[in-house]
Symmetry: C2
Subunit: 333 residues, 2 copies
């Protein structure tokens, strides 16, 4: 089978011929038809995580057809169009992942390949209203956004939500999810074009965080927020406490902008705010996310499509950060 | 009646003759027998809050006998020994206080006096096992600690708890509450003597936060913590994320050490931590706190006793920060 393999840090991925894997006990063999890129893949390529084991087939998001099953798997799965939950070995606790937890795609071989073997517990019927390319855009970003917004953020219909860094996969998915349940949503970005796009999707407004007074503009134009969803941290994070309503919640799922500084304990305790960290989600979150996407007929925003063979162009597009929505790979037989 | 009045910022309190107040509709007149000092009183004297209105009788904590009632109050209250809940006009939301919320003692006349008129809804029978002096030590610190530990912190029997700045009223009360339900508790302080005292009360250990490696020492000796209770913020706060167990909670109720810096979003989201701000508590928290104190026969630690007339000596003792436990005032007829 063809696979996109990262052989060494800071190298391009290499389209390589690999042996088609054989499903073990409890596993299914999925013939992948589409995959999607996440920042995680780029960060692995750039060596930004500890303990990277190479060579590895990268990729956390994938959709395809179950072609074969290993022992102890129901035959009913054969021929199903499935979406892969990239949370591996989450463990028993709802509130946090176990020590064995991994995200699919390094160290385990991922979805940038024609085939993958994966635990049957990790495959779910793909929402019927979505094309393979749309479905492939869903897993990691959809799961992270769903848990951040609903399970951790406790988002309720009609609340006011602020989402930072719109354009990123999780942020955009959080926007679509929140809009589906009648939220008032504002967004931030460094790009006026991305804010415009978010507004065209239904956001009530947005602010350029490159403007040092963005939080004041937000407060003046929109008032306080019940919930913020943030994937960056950094020096802007402290402002999220200023724009929070009393009893407001702030959920963080990423730290691309580095450590948080100048966070005011007085704002935290006097407004009785809640700050929660969230990462990925468990199988129940994944199932609930898919049900939510089906119920509200949500279609993930796709930025661009590349054939698997052009994966390095797809990585380049993500690296340049001009994308709005998911960058999806088509995988042909 | 005699009352300790703050007439101007940075001045001593003045023992003044004031008119005995008359209970209005829904109010009771309490003849106070004991009161207690909080940092809040000192901060008001030092002008550390916005909107200080003087002259004012300070004091949030008080116990006494109901001597008279206003219209629309049941006669059954007359003669009762009551403790005053210093949360005024909390409002309808459990999660946060209303805009009308005030802490008793500035702008409303407080408990450093022979008499006070207060809403009947704010008086509760004092726990029978406590002397007046012990009961007076309870309200503000007990309420804040109870809400931080149980309602916000979700503390469960047997969990591992870290409490910063032991010796302060809230921290000490949190220690006593946690120990009453079989927690393993560690504490921090700048004073070895205060740590020793905490250990003699039942704490499992403590660290001097003046040692820059305190968090490593804590991890080595005791492992990770399910819950931290912090009243300081500042540069030590980020360490609380390091010593937190996955899914751990950190509750902050004060910010004497200033803004929080170098807080790692990666730790926050990967461990799926929860940081909550908490302040005081509502009437239900107060009632639950008193029931808890009665059930577990908890006796607040009293540092020292002063007659109301010597209130400026009592303030001096708090200012010097050598106290361990509450500084209590005796109020005689």
């Amino acid at each position: 089978m063809k696979a996109a393999v990262l052989e060494a840090l800071n190298n391009e991925l290499k389209i390589t011929e690999r042996e088609k894997p054989v499903p073990g006990s409890g596993e299914v063999l999925v013939r992948l038809t589409a995959a999607a890129i996440n920042h995680r893949d780029l960060f692995i390529q750039q060596g930004k995580y500890a303990g990277i084991a190479l060579p590895c087939i990268l990729g956390s998001d994938g959709v395809g057809l179950v072609e074969d099953i290993g022992p102890n798997v129901g035959v009913g799965l054969i021929g199903q169009r499935v979406l892969i939950n990239p949370s591996l070995d989450w463990g028993e606790h709802e509130a946090f992942q176990s020590r064995k937890f991994r995200v699919l795609g390094m160290p385990d071989d991922g979805t940038f390949a024609q085939y993958i073997c994966i635990a049957a517990d990790n495959v779910f019927q793909a929402p019927a209203h979505l094309s393979d390319e749309e479905a492939a855009a869903l897993p990691l970003a959809g799961l992270t956004a769903y848990r951040a917004l609903f399970r951790k953020g406790g988002f309720k219909r009609g609340e006011r939500v602020f989402i930072t860094g719109i354009g990123g996969g999780v942020a955009l998915m959080a926007l679509q999810f929140a809009l589906a349940v009648d939220a008032q949503v504002c967004v931030s970005s460094a790009s006026a074009r991305k804010i415009e796009k978010a507004v065209s999707l239904g956001a009530n407004g947005g602010v350029l965080y490159t403007n040092s007074e963005w939080h004041k503009k937000l407060l003046n134009n929109f008032g306080h927020f019940d919930l913020s969803i943030d994937g960056t941290g950094g020096d802007l994070f402290a402002r999220l406490l200023e724009i929070a309503a009393p009893g407001g919640r702030i959920v963080n799922y990423g730290g691309t902008a580095g450590p948080v500084n100048q966070l005011s304990p007085q704002r935290l305790f006097w407004k009785q705010l809640v700050i929660k960290g969230s990462t990925m989600g468990n199988a129940e979150d994944f199932k609930n996310m898919l049900a939510f996407v089906s119920e509200h007929a949500i279609r993930p925003v796709i930025d661009s499509l590349f054939p698997l063979e052009d994966i390095n162009q797809a990585f380049k597009r993500m690296h340049e950060a001009q994308h709005f929505g998911k960058i999806v790979l088509r995988i042909s037989e």
